[in-house]
C-alpha cells in the first residue's frame, strides 16, 4: 500500500506568516496533489505535480504555491497566510492510469 505522510495533523499560524505544508510518499509515484476540504464544499484541487519541478494549477490556486524538488516530496506554500485559508488540507498520490489516488491523513490548518 502507498504510504502518504503529511508533516502535521494540526497547525496554528498567524495572519501574514509564510506557511509550509509537507507531503511525502514512499512509492516513487509521479503524480502528487494538494486538495483543500471545507464543510459543505467537498474537496477542491489546489495544485498538482506530475514530475519533479513540474506543477499545474488546479481549481483554486490563488494564494498558494507549490514546490517539488524531489520526487517523493510535494510542498504546499501559503506565501502570506490569511484567515480564509483556515481549512483541512489533504495530499494525494497516484501512479496514474486507472490507479486511484491515495490520501494522507490531512492537516487541519488554523490561521489566526
Amino acid at each position: 500500500d502507498v504510504k502518504v505522510t503529511q508533516s502535521s495533523r494540526y497547525l496554528v499560524k498567524r495572519t501574514g506568516e509564510k506557511v509550509f505544508l509537507e507531503c511525502v510518499q514512499d512509492m516513487d509515484h509521479e503524480n502528487m496533489f494538494w486538495y483543500r476540504q471545507d464543510p459543505g464544499l467537498g474537496l477542491r484541487l489546489i495544485y498538482f505535480s506530475y514530475d519533479v519541478k513540474m506543477k499545474e494549477k488546479g481549481d483554486i490556486p490563488e494564494g498558494y504555491s507549490v514546490s517539488r524538488e524531489k520526487k517523493e516530496r510535494f510542498s504546499l506554500i501559503l506565501e502570506s497566510a490569511s484567515t480564509n485559508q483556515t481549512s483541512m488540507y489533504l495530499c494525494a498520490v497516484t501512479g496514474g492510469g486507472n490507479q486511484p489516488q491515495h490520501f494522507g491523513d490531512g492537516t487541519r490548518l488554523s490561521i489566526l
Partner: protein, 119 residues
C-alpha cells in the same frame, strides 16, 4: 468542466439494513473514471470502489456495489448489511480518462454525504 452532485447531505440507516447514496455528474467526455471514497472521523480518505466508464458491468466490492447509469450520468453507491464502521462521510469523485498536464489530473469531488448508522 466536470461537476459532481451529491444531493443528500445526510443519510441515516439502521444497522444491518441497506442504504443507497446518490451521485450524478455532468461531463461531455465519453471515457472517464468514477470513484467512491469514504472519510471516517479519523479523516483519512479511503477508496471504497471505482468504475471505469467503458465497462458496462457494475463494480462490486464485498458489501459495496454501484449502479452505474452512463446515459443518465448517475453513479449511486449501495451499502448492504450496514455496519457501525460504515459511518462516515462518503464522497463521489470523477476523473477524466485522457490526462492533461503531462500525465496527471485531479479528481472532481461532490460535496459529500454524511452517513449515520443507527444501532
Amino acid at each position: 468542466a466536470q461537476t459532481v452532485t451529491q444531493s443528500q447531505p445526510e443519510m441515516s440507516v439502521q444497522e444491518a439494513e441497506t442504504v443507497t447514496l446518490s451521485c450524478t455528474y455532468d461531463t461531455s467526455e465519453s471515457d472517464y473514471y468514477l470513484f467512491w471514497y469514504k472519510q471516517p472521523p479519523s479523516r483519512q480518505m479511503i477508496l471504497v470502489i471505482r468504475q471505469e466508464a467503458y465497462k458496462q458491468q457494475n463494480a462490486t466490492e464485498n458489501r459495496f456495489s454501484v449502479n452505474f447509469q452512463k446515459a443518465a450520468k448517475s453513479f449511486s453507491l449501495k451499502i448492504s448489511d450496514s455496519q457501525l464502521g460504515d459511518a462516515a462521510m462518503y464522497f463521489c469523485a470523477y476523473r477524466s480518462y485522457y490526462l492533461s498536464g503531462g500525465g496527471a489530473d485531479g479528481l472532481t469531488f461532490g460535496k459529500g454525504t454524511h452517513l449515520i448508522i443507527q444501532p
